[in-house]
Symmetry: C2
Subunit: 322 residues, 2 copies
C-alpha cells in the first residue's frame, strides 16, 4: 500500500478546492463576485489542482430568488469570474442526482470552461447517477462520482454500487463522509474497499471529509496514507455545518513544492476572516452531537439558526431519546 | 498490537482531565472556585478516571500575585474544592522539573488527597525528573513522567531517555506533543517506540496532544489504536494556545459505558461557553503556523495578545524567514 512519506511527497496527489460549492450550502450560494474571484485567484497562485465553483443544479428545483449563481454555474456566470481560465487550475462543478437538469444544463466540454463534472448521489439514486456520469463523459469532461451519506449505506449495497462505479465512465470515485461521523478506522476500511474496487481500472479514489468531530483533516491524512490521491478541502474549512478539511492544514501537510500555503493564509486574512463574522461554520458542539448519532447535520444547522443554539444538553437529549 | 474496537471498548483505557492544569496556562491559573468545582463535579459524574487540578510548582519561581492557587496546589486549596474527595475520581498534580520545590511542597501521600504526581520534563532535565519520580513514588503516589517538546528531541537522546524511564519508578510514561506539530504517522512511530521501551515493566503509555493542526483528537485516536491506554483531554478542548484533545470528542469515541458524555456537554453549556467569551483558545491560524515550523506556541500566543493578532501572512513570513 502507498505510504505518505514524511519528508517528500506523492506526485499523484491532486487537491480540489470546494470552498464555493460546499461553503455555498451555508448561504444559498449567494457569495459576492469579489469573494469568488479571490478564491479563484488563490487557487491559481496556491497551485491547487481543481476548483469546484458550484453546482449544476436545476433552477426549477432551487429558485433563483433564494439562491446565488453558484447553485447553477451558468457558463456566463463562471466566465464573469474566470474569463477563459488561462491558468493551470482546472474547474469543476457538482451535479446532484435528481436535482440537475444535466442533459440541458451541462454544455458540451468544447463550449465550457469547466473541466470536471462531479456527480453526487445517494445510494438509491445510482441508476440516475450512472446516466449522468455517462452524459458528462460523452460531452468530453473528466468525471467523478461521489456517493454521499456513506455512513448509513449498508455494506451489501455499497459492494454493488462499487461494482457499478468500477465499470462506469467516471475517472474518480470519492469517499464522502457527509455526516462527519467517521473515525480513522472507518476511513481506512472504506479507503481499502474503494481502492480494491477500482484496482486495474485506472480510476482514482478521492476523499471528502466533514469536520463535525474535528477529524476532517486527520481523516484526510488517513485516506492519503491508505493511497487515496484526490483530496477535497476548503479555505478556512468553510462548508455546511461543521465545514470541511481546511485547505491551509492540508497544504501545510503536503510537501509538494508546487503548493503555496502563504497564498491561502493571505486569502483567509483578507476574505475569510471578515466572512466568518457574517456566516457561521466550524466544529461546534451540535455538529459533534449529530455525528455521534450518525445523523445529517440538518437539525444542528436549524438549531444554530434559532434561539436555543447553545442548548447542547437539550439537543443531545432530543437525539438520545429518538 | 491492540486494536481499538468499533462497537465495544478496551477496559484498560483511562482518561485524565487536565482542564484546570493546562487551561490555567492561559490565565495564570486564576480560575474562580466555582469553575474548578464544576470541573471536579463533572469529572465525577462523567466517570473520568483522573482530574489534574494544577501544578505543584514553586512560589519563588511563579509569584503568587500573578498566579492562582492551581499553580501550586496547596493541600488546603485542593480540599477547598474536593473536600476529602469522596469519589472514584483520582486527583493529579503536575510538577515541572526545575520549577518545583517538590521535596517540600509535595506532601506524603497519607497527608494529601492527591493520588498521582505527573513529572514534566524537557530532555535536558531528565536527571532532575528521575529524582522527582523517585521522590513521589517514595511518598506513596502513582507517578507519571511526561517528556515535553518531543518533536524537537533527537532520536538517540530519546532512546536513552526511554531506557531510563523504563527502569525508573514511574507507572506511566506520556507522549507529549507540546507543539501540536505531529501527524498520525509520527504519533504511531512514537507510540510503538514508547510501548516497546516499557514492554514487560508493567508501565502504561499515555498521550497528551495539542490541537494546533486540529489533530489533537485524531492523534489521540491513533495512539489508542496503537495500544496507548492513558489519555489526556480537556473540557471544550481548553488549553494553552490551540488547546488540547476535547473531552467531549474523546468520550463520544470511547464506548465504555462508565463514561457520561452528557455531563461534559452540560458543563460546557453552563461554564465553558461563558468562559470562552473571556479567554481565547483553539485551533487558530497562528497555532497552525507555529506547528508547521515545529515551534513552541509562545510566539503565537504573544501575537494573539497584541494588535496584529490576525496578521497571518506577516507571522508566517516571520517564521519562514527565520
Amino acid at each position: 500500500m502507498a505510504k505518505a512519506p514524511w519528508v517528500t511527497f506523492r506526485p499523484e496527489i491532486k487537491v480540489l478546492d470546494c470552498t464555493i460549492r460546499d461553503g455555498g450550502l451555508i448561504n444559498g450560494h449567494m457569495f459576492e463576485d469579489k469573494l469568488v474571484k479571490a478564491v479563484y485567484d488563490t487557487c491559481v497562485v496556491a497551485g491547487i489542482d481543481y476548483m469546484e465553483i458550484g453546482y449544476k443544479n436545476d433552477k426549477k428545483i432551487f429558485a433563483p430568488d433564494t439562491h446565488g449563481s453558484w447553485k447553477y454555474c451558468d457558463e456566463d456566470d463562471i466566465r464573469r469570474i474566470v474569463e477563459d481560465n488561462d491558468s493551470n487550475l482546472k474547474l469543476s462543478a457538482m451535479a446532484d442526482a435528481e436535482k440537475s437538469n444535466y442533459k440541458q444544463d451541462i454544455l458540451p466540454k468544447k463550449d465550457s470552461v469547466l473541466d470536471l463534472i462531479r456527480v453526487a448521489t445517494y445510494i438509491h439514486q445510482i441508476p440516475t447517477a450512472l446516466n449522468m456520469v455517462k452524459d458528462a463523459k460523452d460531452k468530453g469532461y473528466e468525471v467523478s462520482v461521489n456517493l454521499m451519506a456513506l455512513s448509513i449505506v449498508k455494506d451489501r449495497e455499497l459492494d454493488e454500487a462499487l461494482d457499478l462505479f468500477a465499470d462506469c465512465e467516471a475517472d474518480v470515485v470519492v469517499i464522502v463522509d457527509s455526516f462527519g461521523s467517521m473515525y480513522s478506522e472507518q476511513i481506512r476500511h472504506y479507503a481499502r474497499k474503494y481502492l480494491k474496487a477500482v484496482k486495474g481500472t485506472g480510476k482514482e479514489v478521492g476523499i471528502h471529509a466533514h469536520n463535525n468531530q474535528q477529524l476532517a483533516f486527520g481523516n484526510t491524512i488517513e485516506a492519503i496514507v491508505c493511497g487515496v490521491n484526490r483530496l477535497d478541502a476548503t479555505i478556512s474549512g468553510i462548508g455546511r455545518g461543521a465545514g470541511n478539511c481546511p485547505m491551509e492544514n492540508l497544504l501545510s501537510f503536503l510537501r509538494n513544492p508546487k503548493f503555496n500555503l502563504r497564498a491561502v493564509l493571505q486569502c483567509i486574512e483578507e476574505h475569510f476572516l471578515p466572512l466568518s463574522k457574517e456566516l457561521e461554520w466550524g466544529a461546534l458542539i451540535p455538529y459533534l452531537i449529530t455525528a455521534y448519532f450518525n445523523q445529517h447535520p440538518r437539525s444542528a444547522m436549524e438549531l444554530r439558526a434559532g434561539d436555543k443554539k447553545d442548548n447542547y444538553v437539550e439537543f443531545y437529549d432530543h437525539w438520545n431519546e429518538a
